[in-house]
């Protein structure tokens, strides 16, 4: 699971509807897998990200390169240096093992071999 996907996941335990995002990373194993740089895709996905959540999550795994405030995406002057840094964080940083903990209800979702398990028991849905 790359950080771009983590940015799209939230807790869905029954009744857990607020403060349930982003899921907090814990005991994670990180792997960097290089992939082709595609500035067009990064520009497209940027408005779909929850930036604050991404910054917060990155800090949990000691990535401090993201600016606290997202550069203005309406203008086209996102420089390559910024996009390459974002590429590394969003698309090349894989969470292979670990846990994701809901900040609200503390439910733990496991990540195994790069796959988050979002399944709940029947009494939790």
């Amino acid at each position: 699971m790359r950080l771009v996907a983590h940015n799209m996941l939230q807790c869905h335990v029954k009744g857990c509807n607020s403060n349930n995002f982003p899921l907090q990373l814990s005991n994670v194993e990180i792997e960097i897998q290089e992939t082709d740089f595609n500035p067009m895709f990064l520009r497209n996905i940027l408005p779909k990200l929850e930036w604050n959540a991404l910054v917060k999550t990155a800090l949990q795994i000691n990535i401090t390169t993201l600016p606290n405030v997202l550069p203005d995406t309406s203008t086209d002057d996102l420089d390559d240096e910024f996009l390459k840094m974002l590429h590394r964080v969003l698309l090349e940083t894989h969470i292979q093992q670990g846990k994701m903990i809901c900040p609200n209800c503390n439910h733990v979702y496991a990540i195994k071999d790069g796959i988050p398990n979002m399944l709940l028991n029947e009494n939790e849905t």
Partner: protein, 222 residues
Amino acid sequence: MIPTPNLDHISSRDYEHVYEPAEDTFLFLDALEKDAEFLRNEIKPCICLEIGSGTGCISTFLGKILGDGTALLICTDINPYASAITIRTGYNNSIQLESINTNLVNGLLPRLYHSIDILCFNPPYVVTTSDDLYSSRSIIEKAWAGGIDGREVIDKMLPLVDGLLSDKGVFYLLLINENKPNEVREIMKNNYHLQSEILLSRLAGREKQMILKFWRDTLLKK
């Protein structure tokens, strides 16, 4: 012509745990290929989502159509074996897939509200009893057992489509005649203002399979 994804990494033992691509899968691939130009040049997707990815064959093929790295390809499956094989299929065909082990889209909504540009679903469509569906003896049965009219899982997904699709989003759904496709099209039109067409259909043995395509009526279709 885009080649069918290479599935050599999947063993016959794997197919005891995950649905093996069959006529329905290949019809899905052919439908996407038929729409390839439309998807590349008009939809220009940013986020794609496949529900019940199984081997990952369909999303891998979609990745080949779009080009690796041009869109985020998210795959969900309730079967952990399928989620694992999905990633491997992408990897073996040089397509990066995001595989999530979940039921339908649990954990992705409301975060991905109106965000999905291409939604694909090859559902469990086989007509069975409700009991078959809920007391599935094996995980693989979940891949095809559809309950009454083969519609029980499909009908859980239909109300979620409107919330998922972006303004320009398209939804591809495989159905067979027994699933009452006209009724499905009516539901989507009346409840969610989604237009539809039968993009492709084929006879597989006695089974009439088809790919329905849905889009918002605000989206001008070529």
